[in-house]
Structure formats: structure tokens, C-alpha cells
Amino acid sequence: MSSQPLLSVEGLSKSYGGVHAVRGVSFALSSGEILALIGPNGAGKSTCFNMLNGQTAPDGGRVRVLGQDTTGLKPREVWRLGVGRTFQITATFPTMTVRENVQVALSSHDRKLFNLIAAMPRYARQEAERLLDLVGMGGFAMRACGELAYGDLKRLELAMALANRPKLLLMDEPTAGMAPRERVELMRLTAQIAREKSIGVLFTEHDMDVVFEHADRILVLNRGNLIAEGSPEEVRRNGEVRAIYLGEGLVYDARHREGAAP
């Protein structure tokens, strides 16, 4: 681990009305590390995520990216620091072609958004095609983004998130809504890219196969609290985590079941 973590989070908190969605969450992430954030529905994963890239303003706590305090910055400002993100429900530009979607991200990265003269269809075309090839979408470059299948949209989002050469990728349920084989492929691809370019990845996920196959470390969130943190093996053995995911076995235990007694 380098002296300065890529992402460090201290005491992050957010409440909605009386609901404490996230309470005092702290963790760190270093370059090239793949960190999974898991927890049951309503644990505060998405809220936590939205605070990391500036979508939601936290009530308390600090977020630092490469040592720089990003608390209170807007998503676009956080992005400029080298943080890419994908959404739980894909957000792309349906009226553009697949390649143009990536080209927009590239032109933004080059700070050419107020260029009124250049012809976008020719803009950074090779770089856009390279990114699409990287995520296996090279053959779809000229397709209308609006007619893509959902799994392909997820891959396109990944290509867009990679356009600013990110140091940190935030992926909110990257495989939600995808077929099982596609899930495995997408996560293998992400892990491969992350290791090659030494990008830190933080992702939330419900599919435990994906989590345990790829995560270097796992954070477990429940009711807004960080209750466990460690390697996949440690988390797998953690009693509290089991209790959350499988129930505590007090009610539906065989001994309590009516008529089960001898």
C-alpha cells in the first residue's frame, strides 16, 4: 500500500429525516485494489456511493481522493480528479451512436466542450474505438445507443468511465440486470483492466459469486454501519455477516419448528 491511499473516507454520515442511511463509515482504498461494498437492501450502499462522487452531500465526514478533500464538490469536479463511475441503472445518451457516447466523454476530458467548430464524428476517433475494443464493443461503434441490449449498455458505460483515464472507478451494481454469463465476463474484464492500469475499483454488488471471485477486500454495510471489513475469506467466516445474510436462525431453526420435536 502506498503512503497515500487513493481514496480515504472518514466518518461519512447521511440521514434522511429520521433514517440514518449511513453512519460514520470509514475506509481506504489503494491503487490497483478491488474493493467490494456489500450489504442487504437498504444497508446504505447506494447512499454511500453517491456521497463518494458528489451526487449527494454528506451530513458529516470527509472524502479524500489522492489526499485532496472532495467533500462538497460536484460530481463533475470529482470526475476531473480522475474518478469514473457507472450507475446502477445505466445512464447513457440514447440518441447518439455508441462511439459518439465515448467521444463526448473524451472531448470533456480534453476540455473541448466549448469548441463550436470541430467535427465530433471525427473527434478522437481512434481513442474512442480503442476504448470500445477494450470492453468488447468494437463491432457496435456505429449502432444507435438507444437500441443496445442492457448488458451492452453496461459495457458502454464502462468504456465511458474509462475515457478520463481514471485512477478510481466507482461501479454501483455493475452487473445488475445482466445475464449470468455476461456478469462474469464484465467483472473479469473490469478486474483485468484495473490490474493492468492499476486503477482502484470500488463496487457494490448483490451477486456473491462476482464479489468473492474478484474482490481483494470486502466491506460489509448493515443499517448504515460498517460491520465487517477484510479479505473474502475473513468476511465469509464472520459470524455477524452470516447472521445478516442468512438470518440468525432463531425463529426458523429446526428446533423451533412446530412438530419437529421428537
Binding site: 470526475w79 445505466t90 445518451f93 440514447p94 470533456s108 465530433m120 464524428p121 444507435a144 438507444g146 437500441e147
Partner: protein, 627 residues
């Protein structure tokens, strides 16, 4: 002192009718998500019907019964409109809904002239409330006192209906989540119809109640709808209490503004609206809405630059147009120059609407500012024509800088209402500030210099500027800026997440559109040799909208075809019929219901006819799941 109290009470009395119309608009919007542009038309219709009924049946019963009956009759008309028209367009993008109800407004304007004649009608005074009360030497009409009581009374009644009746609970539920209400087995169709009926009833009642105070005219619809848009923007669309508070605020500002700035009292309302929008963009009592589920567009064919064959076709069309002076007379050339000017105007709005997704309902403001700017440059500064043609559009730019800043803070229907209100404010200033603008008499004698004076020369000038403007806008559309603008329109969330400052991009687009519109206006001033407040008026804004819609809002440059067809058609129509608004309104409704893709869009999809119906259905379902 007494004078100020009386002025205050007059303001309160005006607030009552404003509140009735605004609350009706809010209720309808809350449930159906339609901003009923025709609300002003129902208000006007209420006044006309009440005029007829109260004139026929005299006495207290005749008067009060007539007013109530008028509101009920107009509400019944509203039910018919809802069932025949609105039910067909609940699912289409909101822009089309605004336009369809606007088309309706135009039709009603001509229909009341057909039915009641063009002259102002003066209604009877209120039975039983004809007198006035003496207040320290000042007279307060007792009818005003009645209206002052009526406003809070209606507010209370509406509150009771929404809190205490089953129907009210359903309406509130539908306002929060329509889909859930439908899933619970409520008959949505009739819920929508009944809500629309109530909203129209309130508007018509307000109109009917105005007849003892004001003359009934066929212009009262636009006047009230602009005030009402200002009220709901300030109060918060969807909030009835907000509508009440804002109605009182706006009426009082009007009542006292007259004393402070007698010539441009409307500025005061504008300043307050701007202040509210900065502090609370969703209005005083409105709630920030979660981004409404976007209606997917009609087509998803990505835009592409012209192919070389298409470029040749465009070049031939241009050469044909440029050769017009060799075989056409002066009248045809003047018409041709006017069409070229409107191509500039429509293309500028089209850029804002189709690339930016920002439907401005007051684009004439920037066209008109360009025209007035040119006239000022010629008349006040004595600039030569070439310099005036540059100075004029700068006025359009200036207006766009100020109004665009506020307008892009909002989106969708709020954006449309706000741009309309801004345009109406500019119009009022031009109309009221007689010392500078000549008011209704306009500014005369803005003639082109000798080099551009002959009909062929002026035509060529207009054509050249139009070609440059359209080409420039096309280049901008396919530039990184144009894509950033489209990105913001397609998915604000994703655009922000890849570093795009959406508001700044949209504001810049507004400046571009405003400046280009101003260029059109500058040429228009020279074409007509004069400038009148009409160049800022709502009808001109609507003309531009129809041109864009007719050409096809989802095309790159459909507005050009739309402008040519529409302008030629309307020049011809005005020469053929007295009831051009009726025909035009019906035409707009027809486009929205039958050909929402416009001429170019329809041709385009015929051209690319693939097994499209199946594909469209698949696309729609995919976009649905992707949301």
C-alpha cells in the same frame, strides 16, 4: 394613507381571479402532468358565456345564476376537450402537449370573435353589489370586497375537498404517484377527466366573475395566462396554497408598481420572480420534484452530417433560390426575403429545442430585441446599416444573457412558462415605454441603404445570412459543444458524471440561439422598414414553434423546411381567410395528434423504412426498462 389601503384592497381583489385560474392550472398539472396552455382560453370563454347569460336573465338570480351556469357550461366544454384531445396525448413529450393546448387557444380566440364579434363587451354590474363603500374619502367597490372574501373562501373549499373527500384523496394520491393509483384499480380516465373539469370550472368562474370589473375582450386569454404562469412559477406549480400566496404577491406588486414605475411596472414583477427563482427554483411552496421520468423520444436514429450526395442536393436548392431574382417579381422577392428571415429565426429556436431539448415559448423576445436594437442603432445612434446589423443582434444576445441565466435553472414546462413570461415582459416594456420605443406606434423609417435597397439585393442579403446562420448552427450541432448539449438533454446524470457543466452549456446554447434570432430580427426591421411591439409578441413565438414542429423537432435542420412551408402557407392563408388563427390552431392540433415527427421526420422514417413498427416497440420497451 387611505389611498394606499384602497390600492392594497384593489390588489387583493385582482388576486382572487388570478388565484382561481392559477389553482385550476396547478390542480390539472398535478394529476395529468399537462400544463394546460388553453387555461386562459377557458377563462375567456367563461367571461363571454357569462356575458351572454347575464345579459339575457336579469335580476340577482339571473346574474349570479348566470355566472355559475357559465362556469359549468365551460367546464362541460373542458370535459369534451379532455376526452377528445388530451386523452390522445397524455403519453407524448410535454412539448407536444403544450403546443396542442396552445393550438386550442388560437382556435378559441377566433371562435369567440366568430360568436361574439371583435369588439370589447361591457358586462352588467354585479346584482346586489353595485355600490361602493366610503373609506376615509376613498371609494371601494363592494364587489371588490366580495372578491377579496371569495379568494380565501375558495382556497378553504379546495382544501376541504382535497382533505376530506374520497375523490380528493385520490387526486392527492395521483399527484404523488399516478402509476400506483392505477395499479390500485382506480379508473384513471375518469379521475383525469374530473380533475380537468374542476380546473376548467375554476378558470371559467374566474373569467365570469371578471365581467363586472373589466371589459370582455378576445385578448384576455393571453394576458391572464402570462400572469398565471408568473404566479405558478413564483408559488410553485402543483401547490394551491402557493398559488394563493403568489397571486396576492403579484397582484399587489402590480397595484403598487403602477405608483412606483408608472411606465414599466411589470419590471417589478420580473425582479421578484427572478429573486424567487434564485432562492427557490421550484417556487415558494413548490417542492423540488425528482427528475420526471423522461418520455423517450419518437425516434432514436442518431444524427449524422450530410452525405456528399445530400450536400450536392442542398447546393442545387441554394442555387435555385439564389436565381429567384432573375425570374420573380418584387413581391415574390419580398416574400422570399421574409421566408429567409424566418428560416434564420426558426433555425435558432430549432437548435435550442432539438439539440438542447429546451422548448422556449418566448423566442420572439430575442428576434424582437434584435429588431429594436437595429432600430435604435439607426435612429438613436445613427449607425450605418452594416454596423446596425451587428448592433441589433447584440441586443438579442444581451436579452439572452439575462433571461437565459434564469431560464436554464429550470427545465421542461417550467422553462417554457418562464421563457414565455420573459417574452411578455419584454413586449410590455416595448409597449409601455412610449418615450423610447414609440409604444404602439413603433419606430418608423428603418430603411436599408442603397447597396441593399433593391428587392433582389435585399433578397440576396437575407438568403446569404440565412445560409450562413443555418450552416453555422449545423456545424455547432456536430461540434463537441453540440454533443455536450445533447448529452445534457439525453441524460443530465451521465453528463454531469463525465464532467459536463450542463447549466453552463445550456446557457451558452441559449446565447447562441438568442443571437441568431436577433440576426433574423435585425434583417426583419430593414425588410419592413419599421419595428412594432408585434415582433416581440406571443404569436410570433408560436409561429417559430410551429415551424420547428412542422419541420420535425427530432431532425437536425427540419426547421428550415418547416419555416418555408409554414411561412408560405400562412402568407397565403391570410390572403384567403379571415379566420387564420382558427385554421392555424386546428393545424397545430392536427400535427401533434397525427404527425408528431413533422415533415422532415416523417420523410426520413419513410426513407429508412425498415420493419419499423416492431423495432419501435422493442425500443420503447428497452428504454422503459433502462429507466
Amino acid at each position: 394613507m387611505a389611498f394606499y389601503v384602497v390600492q392594497f384592497l384593489t390588489g387583493l381583489a385582482s388576486a382572487a381571479s388570478l388565484f382561481l385560474v392559477a389553482s385550476g392550472l396547478s390542480i390539472i398539472f398535478g394529476v395529468t402532468r399537462i400544463v394546460n396552455f388553453a387555461h386562459g382560453a377557458f377563462y375567456m370563454l367563461g367571461a363571454y358565456v357569462a356575458f351572454t347569460l347575464t345579459a339575457r336573465f336579469s335580476g340577482a338570480l339571473g346574474f349570479w345564476g348566470g355566472i355559475l351556469a357559465a362556469a359549468l357550461i365551460v367546464a362541460a366544454v373542458g370535459v369534451l376537450v379532455e376526452m377528445l384531445l388530451l386523452r390522445r396525448i397524455y403519453h407524448v413529450p410535454e412539448l407536444f402537449q403544450l403546443l396542442a393546448t396552445f393550438g386550442l387557444t388560437l382556435m378559441v380566440e377566433d371562435l369567440v370573435v366568430l360568436g361574439w364579434g371583435p369588439n370589447d363587451l361591457v358586462g352588467p354590474r354585479a346584482a346586489g353589489l353595485k355600490g361602493a363603500i366610503d373609506f376615509f374619502g376613498q371609494q371601494i367597490p363592494s364587489y371588490d370586497l366580495f372578491l377579496i372574501v371569495l379568494g380565501p373562501l375558495v382556497l378553504g373549499l379546495l382544501w376541504l375537498v382535497f382533505q376530506r373527500t374520497r375523490w380528493g384523496v385520490l387526486v392527492r394520491a395521483a399527484t404523488q404517484d399516478r402509476d400506483m393509483v392505477a395499479a390500485l384499480g382506480v379508473n384513471q380516465k375518469w379521475l383525469f377527466t374530473s380533475v380537468f373539469a374542476l380546473g376548467v370550472f375554476l378558470a371559467a368562474l374566474a373569467g365570469a366573475l371578471q365581467i363586472p370589473r373589466d371589459a370582455v375582450t378576445h385578448e384576455m386569454d393571453l394576458r391572464v395566462i402570462v400572469d398565471v404562469f408568473v404566479v405558478v412559477v413564483i408559488g410553485g406549480l402543483g401547490s394551491i396554497t402557493g398559488a394563493f400566496v403568489a397571486a396576492v404577491l403579484v397582484s399587489e406588486l402590480n397595484a403598487f408598481g403602477i405608483l412606483i414605475f408608472p411606465k414599466i411596472s411589470i419590471i417589478l414583477v420580473f425582479l421578484v420572480m427572478a429573486a424567487v427563482l434564485i432562492v427557490r427554483p421550484w417556487g415558494l411552496l413548490g417542492r423540488a420534484e425528482a427528475p420526471v421520468r423522461r418520455t423517450p423520444g419518437l425516434t432514436v436514429n442518431p444524427w449524422r452530417p450530410l452525405t456528399s450526395r445530400e450536400r450536392i442536393a442542398v447546393a442545387i436548392a441554394f442555387l435555385l433560390a439564389a436565381s429567384l431574382p432573375f425570374y420573380a417579381g418584387n413581391y415574390a422577392l419580398a416574400v422570399g426575403a421574409e421566408i429567409a428571415i424566418f428560416v434564420i429565426f426558426a433555425a435558432s429556436l430549432h437548435f435550442l429545442m432539438s439539440t438542447g431539448g429546451l422548448a422556449s415559448f418566448g423566442h420572439a423576445a430575442y428576434f424582437g430585441l434584435g429588431a429594436y436594437g437595429t432600430a435604435f442603432a439607426v435612429k438613436l445612434a445613427g449607425l450605418p446599416m452594416a454596423a446596425a446589423l451587428v448592433a441589433g443582434p447584440l441586443f438579442g444576445l444581451l436579452g439572452a444573457v439575462v433571461f437565459g441565466f434564469f431560464a436554464v435553472q429550470l427545465s421542461g414546462v417550467y422553462f417554457a412558462m418562464l421563457t414565455l413570461a420573459f417574452a411578455q415582459i419584454v413586449w410590455s416594456v416595448a409597449f409601455q415605454w412610449v418615450g423610447l420605443t414609440g409604444g404602439d406606434n413603433g419606430i418608423l423609417g428603418v430603411w436599408p441603404e442603397r447597396w441593399a435597397a433593391s428587392a433582389p439585393h435585399f433578397f440576396w442579403l437575407s438568403l446569404a445570412v440565412a445560409v450562413l446562420a443555418v450552416a453555422g448552427l449545423r456545424i455547432a450541432t456536430f461540434s463537441p459543444f453540440g454533443f455536450a448539449l445533447r448529452a445534457t438533454r439525453d441524460s443530465p446524470l451521465r453528463a454531469e458524471a463525465i464532467g459536463i457543466n450542463g447549466k453552463r452549456i445550456q446557457w451558452s446554447a441559449f446565447l447562441i440561439a438568442g443571437t441568431v434570432a436577433g440576426i433574423g430580427g435585425a434583417l426583419f426591421a430593414y425588410l419592413k422598414g419599421s419595428v412594432f411591439p408585434d415582433v416581440l409578441g406571443i404569436p410570433l413565438s408560436v409561429d417559430a414553434l410551429v415551424m420547428v414542429l412542422l419541420g420535425g423537432v427530432e431532425t437536425v435542420s427540419g426547421a428550415i423546411v418547416g419555416a418555408i412551408v409554414y411561412k408560405a402557407l400562412s402568407i397565403w392563408l391570410v390572403s384567403q381567410t379571415e379566420w387564420s388563427k382558427l385554421v392555424l390552431g386546428a393545424f397545430i392540433v392536427l400535427i401533434v395528434v397525427a404527425f408528431p415527427k413533422g415533415i422532415v421526420g416523417t420523410l426520413d422514417s419513410l426513407w429508412h423504412r425498415r420493419p419499423s413498427s416492431l423495432k419501435d416497440a422493442m425500443l420503447a420497451s428497452k428504454i422503459e426498462t433502462a429507466e
